[in-house]
Symmetry: C2
Subunit: 151 residues, 2 copies
């Protein structure tokens, strides 16, 4: 039986995965229709940065409805983030972000893509659980603040 | 370099995963806010059946906005399904479905849960791709019909 992790351990696991994992599922919506796509991401300056086409449904949805939900792949080690997304032109985003993004993705720099906008997600709530026993205490970020007190 | 699969192979891979995999990400929405949760599912009679609580955001969203999108966990071997969801009381769903569901999930029968409704999703469009080369021809079901002609 896996041990039930305390809040501080879940936060440190989440930070480690935000730094390490390569892909995230990004859910957006408009007019009662959900959209869900896998994207590369970078955790940088307490935000999640993603690059996509301005013609994508993701970009269109965010322009009218900035509430988004992201989830890492695993359904056994769940990490779900709710946040607010903003769309930026690449020229409005710091070089720092692109340096880190490009280092993470083997040299792929969105500024050199045909056409890319940058989505910056500010997380508001994060949930993490591995099993039924971890459902209580699953909220590890609330109103943008990590929850680090023991549950 | 992985081979680019033809439509018929993608369809057979999709059917195999619909039968084998245990969890799916289910995206729903209402009022411009997406929702995304991992759920057990059963592929049965050409629909995806999922059990959840009537008090869940998923159930509430579907009641007002039946368009849903489902994705399997992997972002390297993508399988995304768009469909229309209906909510049924357990007593309105065939015994066959529950027998198969219970066999799949080691004896867990939603009819014995405290409170469960059944979500039945009729797929309309399914996309499958493993890499950039597979983006053309990624639509393997269109208007509810499997695409089996070579692309």
């Amino acid at each position: 039986m896996a041990q039930t992790r305390k809040a501080a351990e879940r936060v440190s696991d989440a930070c480690e995965r935000l730094a390490r994992e390569s892909d995230v599922w990004l859910a957006t919506s408009s007019e009662g229709r959900p959209w869900l796509v896998p994207l590369w991401f970078l955790w940088h300056a307490n935000k999640i940065f993603l690059a996509t086409s301005p013609a994508s449904m993701t970009a269109k949805n965010i322009a009218s409805h900035p509430a988004v939900r992201l989830a890492f792949q695993s359904t056994e080690d769940v990490l779900i983030l709710d946040g607010t997304a903003e769309i930026h032109r690449a020229s409005d985003v710091s070089d720092d972000m692109f340096v880190s993004y490009t280092a993470k993705y083997s040299g792929s720099d969105p500024r050199t893509w045909d056409d890319a906008i940058i989505v910056a997600v500010t997380p508001d709530r994060i949930q993490a659980w591995r099993n039924e026993d971890e459902i209580p205490g699953r909220v590890i970020m609330r109103r943008g603040q990590w929850v680090t007190t023991a549950d």
